[in-house]
């Protein structure tokens, strides 16, 4: 069970990379929890989560080899 996480915008300042892999994750909430443990500053950041290119607000089961994107809001113009 492996999940690919794509990180966008300034969130990469926290993770240091734009792509990470996490193992043994069953659902979205668990993923957020694990990310917060690994990168505590993420807990204070606002971002939308897309699972396999669909923005998801509620908890859902994550399939093996799925791709999750963490997308912060941008304000610049």
């Amino acid at each position: 069970m492996r999940v690919k996480v794509l990180i966008f915008g300034q969130l990469t300042d926290i993770t240091g990379e734009s792509e990470i892999y996490l193992n043994e994750i069953s659902d979205r909430d668990e993923l957020v929890e694990k990310l917060n443990q690994q990168y505590p500053a993420l807990a204070d950041s606002k971002y939308a989560i897309a699972v396999d290119k669909k923005v998801i607000r509620q908890n859902i089961r994550l399939d093996d080899e799925c791709t999750v994107a963490l997308l912060p809001p941008f304000s610049g113009g």
Binding site: F8, D44, K46, A48, S75, G77
Partner: protein, 372 residues
């Protein structure tokens, strides 16, 4: 205006069989508003004016400065200090005198937004702050106007088309389906702090103009209910589908009167533990997503019956605050002192994930003013 049949100005686009004279006529009959004549607005305005949008509106209250010029390519060095709205209007007028240009040299705010937006068919958001972005989103939902959203951060851009029926003919999404609550303005860096290479807003602003032209003429597939991100360093494009969320509509002011009473600046500028005055408190009472908490001990008077709130006395607040689910919280007590300590507890515990405010002067001050 003269009949545009076969107008050589538009010959290169009317030659396209998908576009043709019919497409040109649709552009000529359309009314498009570009909010913000900056990094995103300049390229969008140039291409929309060139393409022959019949009525092109633009809103900007700012003046041209030297540090704008590397990306706001509509302006020249000689324009420094001049009004962006008026300068842009003059330049666009020279580019295409066959269209009508309406310049609003003012800041869009909740009192003028509805009136201005209502006069157009399609709105482009090229602003540079969250207060404006949430305000424009809410105004477009309330007036039922398609919103073309574009935003940038360092080397990345986002673009989407909101408040427009999807392929099924009825699914509409808005910015709050993506980001329900605004972050505090200091949570996310703006262009001045984060920096930007001029080409990026050029690309994203041009894409916004392209989405507008597709929506108006009905050609191609637009970014309705989809968010596209573009990375200028890697040229990677990532697209995702946005779904309507029930919560979003509850966060948007219920009607135009409630919208006009909203304070978007406040929503986006508050720091953790911020004190708010009675007027701001009253404005937040209109927002159903805000949780109000009385931190006084049980049996303290005056009793509050004017609005709904939760009672979490300061004595047990540290453990009780674990149960707070709302993202926006307003605390009050007798004089404003205890609620401020409780606000600090919340911000220490939850960090930036919650926005918390404390009523200055307490419920006594509020009751006194309301009695008048």
């Amino acid at each position: 205006m003269a009949n545009k049949q076969g107008n050589p100005r538009y010959q290169r686009q009317t030659t396209l069989k998908e576009f043709g004279e019919t497409g040109q006529e649709k552009l000529g009959n359309s009314r498009v508003l570009v909010i913000g004549a900056g990094g995103l607005g300049c390229p969008a305005l140039q291409y929309l004016a060139g393409a022959g949008i019949g009525t092109l509106g633009l809103v900007d209250h700012d003046t041209v400065s030297l540090s704008n010029l590397h990306r706001q390519v509509l302006y020249s060095t000689d324009d420094i200090g001049l009004s962006k709205a008026f300068r842009a209007a003059d330049i666009l007028e020279a580019l295409n005198p066959e269209i009508d240009i309406i310049a609003y040299n003012e800041q869009l705010n909740p009192s003028n937004a509805i009136n201005i937006i209502s006069q157009f068919d399609i709105i482009l958001d090229g602003t540079d702050n969250f207060a404006s972005r949430y305000m424009i989103n809410d105004a477009c939902v309330l007036t039922n106007k398609p919103l073309i959203y574009g935003a940038i951060s360092r080397f990345e851009g986002q673009i989407a088309v909101f408040n427009c029926d999807g392929e099924d003919g009825f699914t509409k999404t808005n910015y709050r389906d993506l980001f329900p609550h605004p972050p505090a303005e200091d949570e996310i860096l703006n262009c001045a702090e984060a920096g930007v290479i001029g080409v990026l807003p050029g690309i994203i602003g041009t894409m916004m103009a392209n989405e507008a032209i597709k929506l108006i003429t009905g050609i191609g597939t637009s970014l309705i209910n989809r968010l596209m991100t573009y990375n200028s360093l890697t040229n990677q494009v990532y697209e995702m589908e946005i779904q309507p969320e029930k919560e979003s509509l509850s966060l948007i002011p219920e009607n135009i009167a409630a919208f006009q009473a909203s304070n978007y600046e406040l929503m986006c500028s508050a720091h953790p533990g911020n004190e708010i005055d009675i007027n701001s408190f009253d404005q937040m009472l209109l927002d159903p997503s805000v949780l109000f908490i009385d931190v006084r001990e049980t049996n303290e008077t005056p009793e509050v019956e004017e609005f709904n709130y939760l009672k979490l006395p300061l004595s047990g607040f540290r453990s009780a605050m674990e149960q707070i689910e709302a993202e926006n919280v307003v605390l009050f007590c007798q004089s404003g002192k205890r609620s401020l300590s409780a606000a600090r507890m919340i911000s220490e515990h939850y960090g930036n994930s919650k926005k918390v405010y404390s009523l200055k002067g307490g419920i006594v001050a509020w009751k006194n003013l309301r009695r008048v």
